[in-house]
Amino acid sequence: MKFTLSWLKRHLDTDASLEEIGKALTAIGLEVEEITDRAKDFAPFKVALIEAAEKHPDADKLKVCTVKTESGMQQVVCGAPNARAGMKGIFAPENTYIPGLDVTLKKTKIRGVESCGMMVSEKEMQLSDEHKGIIEVDDSYAIGTPMAGIFGLDDPVIEIALTPNRADCAGVRGIARDLAAAGLGKLKPLQTPSVTGQGASPVKVTIEDTEGCPLFLGRYIKGVKNAPSPKWLQDQLKAVGLRPISALVDITNFICLDHARPLHVYDADKLSGDIYVRTSHKNETFRDLNVKAHTFKGNELVISDEAGPQGLAGIIGGQDTCVEEDTTNIFLECAYFKPERIARTGRALSIDSDARYRFDRGVDPAFLSEAMEIFTAMVLDICGGQASEIVTAGQEPNWQTEIEYDPAYCAQLIGLDIPQARQLEILSALGFEVSGSAPKLKIRPPSWRGDVFARADIVEEIIRIEGFDKLPAVSVINDTAVPSGAETPLLTRMRTARAALAARGLQESITWSFIGRDFAAAFGANDNQIAALTLQNPISSEMDVMRPSILPTLIEAAIRNEARGYPSAALFEVGPVFAGVKPEDQSILAAGIRTGSNAARHWADKTAARPVDLYDAKADALAALAAAGAPAENAQISADAPEYYHPGRSGALRLGKNVLAYFGEIHPATLEDMDVKFPIVAFEVFLENIPEAKKKSGTEKPYLTLEPLQPLARDFAFVVDEQTPAADIIRAAKSADKTLITGAEIFDVYQGKGVEPGQKSIALSVSIQPTEQTLTDKDLEGLMARVIDAVQQKCGGVLRG
């Protein structure tokens, strides 16, 4: 909402400075977006007299002018055809910035003749595109008169951001009323003229849709002249960014901005018969003022004549009945439309207009006949003509409310005790009526404040005028001496998994929750899920389905990094994936990918630069699980990761039926579909599938027994079928003696010379912890025989000679 200082002062009697007004507006909730004081920018430009204009000795089209300025005579070389002795124009002295040229003037020589400053054109001042000659001003302006005043540019423009609840401040008078309440001056009384109409309106009005339009006032005026509007009106409209069109249009725009009251004028001679306010018929067509054609759905509120819709109620008028230069008889419309109807239609048709902006928010339902009188008086004053009596259809909607209010509630809600007298003073300045006595005051909001219904609204009115800066600040203190944990169990897992993965060298990323449908399908979403999870208004087709997996967006990130010259990325994300639209269909995962090599080549570690492999991803998954509190060591491992993983190089970690994680290489076909030219390993950890840690009955940690006897280790090598999982061999070896054997680690896997094709050699180190006594050689031999036997029995392993 834009207005000028002088416009504000039409309603507000104030001595306050522009700066004070700006501060007050923001303080009372009418946030100032910008104040433009153009007089400041135009200050150096002043009236000057060209005393002499001689032809340039060296150029046919240039003149050497002797210019009388307020600070003495200047010589200016000028190319304008209209530059001549005796004319007054606008002079810009040297060192002045010329907005239209984007230069700062310097003393210069033009074809050998010194030139100091310049006489400016309208284009150079960005006032218009006029550049045929320099600006000429009336001889009556004294030399040195600032140009801003002459061109109506000395009126500062204030723009405020209006919150949707303040329909009343979509008009300058509402703003003035708020400022007056805040002590910035006095609201001038509204002088409503009373026009005596002559005869009934030949155009009658019938409301068929009383729900959409409770009240409609109309008036016929004959014999008007629709010339350009007077300069003061044009200046006001131009200052706030509206283009003057014709007197009638300018008057409606002016009242719309002045009183937040949209109106419409029809060329009465173009109307066919009477006016009907009704719901549109399906497939009816209408051409709006911007010559845009609409075909109605059958639920729009329209203003129709016998021929069809001539206006989209509260939004925009029609091309067929609009006023033009030669219009002589008009019909004025001043109506109340239901905000929801206007908002719905406006949104559906995507039409933004000054009228809709106000009807959406709700115009003053009790300010129709006054607006009609102001409107008529201005038309008669500017355009002449003879007005009919007002034709009225419908009745004023019921807007009155009464709120019971205890002034003590103010302190209770906001913690600031404002005396009752002061509260009532503020309310009365804002137009609220108060009766009864505390603690049961009866408060009736004014007709223009349809946003006030409840006692909290009353308090808001009081405190915003009193000033939010007066609110005391009281710290919120924790109720217990030591804060108990703020995190949910899930949040703790998210944090610990995040820290563990970052500590393993992965960078945390955040990617979109939506992906393209092809990727959704490739990463596990079925057709039903995709249908249910498709955005109806996506940003693009690459971002239209809620993701079933975090991996596709991470893979895309890897592609981008590779293209930038960074082929070795290790990225992870802790975020949501979606299996459906219900809250329980959402789950939180920690997922990541690695590409390229594990590290840079290194002089001391020839294996450092090896390509990433599935064991990196498996380690990431295990680290995240362990950090998030999963008993990862108890997890079963199986080769049934989803189809977007490489079938032979991926796995799942499970606790019973619960999948804790997937890990492995991404399927080459999936990578090809995504146009990825390099291998990627990935993992997905299901943080919510980790069982809750059981409440410990005793101490946090179990008792630790430190064995006094030294541990031993014995190495074995077995030849097994190459399909035998290493984990089976470890399990078999450990099963040989559950007391003495504390662990088994594989330290070599070998295929090749010395091992039959289809077989592999697995070397493992078995850790033994004697508990009661040192083991004798015989004990040890027996134990080793049991290990060999177990691996033989369970895995068909043969001890390698």
Partner: protein, 366 residues
């Protein structure tokens, strides 16, 4: 006795001449070994008279101790020398790089979230979480956005197909436009006192220089019998000052409008413009203009919202506020461009990310 003196001189010379451990051991054996010269002299003591035995015995014992000590000290000197010689051959180039270890990082938005948990945790708030896919009721209606209200248009909502298993507003699925819906779910399941914060992904259909279709919000909710707007002001001021680590950061409340609060406010923090065009948060020095920037929206929870969640607005009241996490993060850590948060550029993540060992905690203030 002169034999003893001579022997001492002789052995001392031999010990000092021994320049490696082996020759020193040879000297030791020749002096103190079973057949050594001092041992041999000791054996002659038995043949002496008691008087002679006493004096010679004392002298021999003294010689034995002295020689043993000399050998020990020469041995230490030789060992030290040998070590020094060995070390001189073992020099390595200390300027060579260490074995590589990948450096990971925590995303700045996560850092901010963890900072918030720490700060609000200290004030006694607990975290609540909720779904990203919401329904119209939880995201709008319960928050006092009536259907068709223009305030709904302030938020460009992403819509999903209707959920056939639900009816009415609960069937209308959408991506939450704010985390306020989490507050609604929390209030539906808890009676006051309620003291929670929530944060997470939020979505609005807007994508340009300063908007991304997905971003993060945090919200704070405190409901009890006597929580006033003064508590809101105190809590918020304490929070922004702790978060930005500026004790006298100016905080300004301005009236504003959000359907779910009444009175509603926008909160600004103070900054000054630097000569290079940048900004610096904080109080303006004498003579400089105090500038303000909006950082969050706040207010007293609207009675209708409490009612919608089954809380008696006659008995309880409280405050809520919400803030965009990216914006707060950009301000605190000097990150210039919002869109880079979601680019996953490894260089950006390395530069703006955080060390996994430096997690926010109460010990460091957050």
């Amino acid at each position: 006795m002169s034999d003893i003196t001579t022997l001492k001189t002789e052995l001392t010379t031999q010990i000092e001449a021994a320049n490696d451990l082996q020759s020193l051991d040879d000297v030791r054996v020749s002096a103190l070994g079973k057949k050594g010269r001092i041992t041999a002299l000791m054996k002659t003591l038995g043949t002496m008279s008691p008087e002679e035995r006493q004096t010679t015995g004392q002298a021999l014992n003294a010689l034995k101790d002295e020689i043993a000590a000399l050998i020990k000290s020469q041995e230490a000197a030789l060992k030290k020398q040998a070590l020094a010689q060995r070390l001189a051959t073992e020099t390595q180039d200390i300027t060579l790089s260490t074995r590589p270890q990948r450096q990971g990082a925590v995303h700045p938005v996560s850092q901010t979230m963890e900072e918030l948990v720490t700060i609000f945790g200290a004030m006694g708030f607990k975290v609540a979480q909720g779904p990203d896919i919401e329904d119209d009721w939880h995201n709008f209606t319960a928050l006092n956005f009536p259907p068709g209200h223009p305030a709904r248009e302030m938020q460009d909502t992403f819509f999903l197909p209707e959920d056939p298993s639900e009816e009415g507003e609960r069937a209308k699925k959408l991506l939450r436009t704010h985390t306020s819906s989490v507050q609604i779910r929390h209030m539906q399941n808890h009676q006051p006192p309620i003291k929670t914060i929530c944060f997470g992904r939020t979505y609005r259909s807007d994508y340009d220089m300063t908007h991304t279709p997905m971003f993060h919000q945090m919200e704070c909710l405190y409901i009890d019998r006597d929580v006033t707007m003064a508590h809101l002001k105190g809590c918020l001021s304490d929070f922004v000052r702790a978060f930005f680590k500026i004790d006298d950061l100016p905080v300004r409340f301005r009236p504003s409008f959000f359907p779910f609060v009444e009175p509603g406010a926008e909160v600004d923090i103070g900054y000054v413009k630097k000569p290079d065009g940048g900004i610096k948060l904080g109080k303006a020095p004498e003579g400089e203009e105090q500038k303000w920037m909006e950082i969050l929206g706040a207010g007293m929870v609207h009675p209708n919202v409490l009612k919608n969640c089954g809380i008696d607005p006659e008995a309880y009241q409280g405050f809520a506020f919400g803030m965009g996490l990216e914006r707060a993060t950009m301000l605190k850590y000097g990150i210039p461009d919002l869109r880079t948060f979601f680019e996953c550029d490894t260089r950006w993540l390395a530069h703006y990310g955080f060390d996994p060992l430096q997690r926010p905690n109460a010990a460091t203030g957050q």
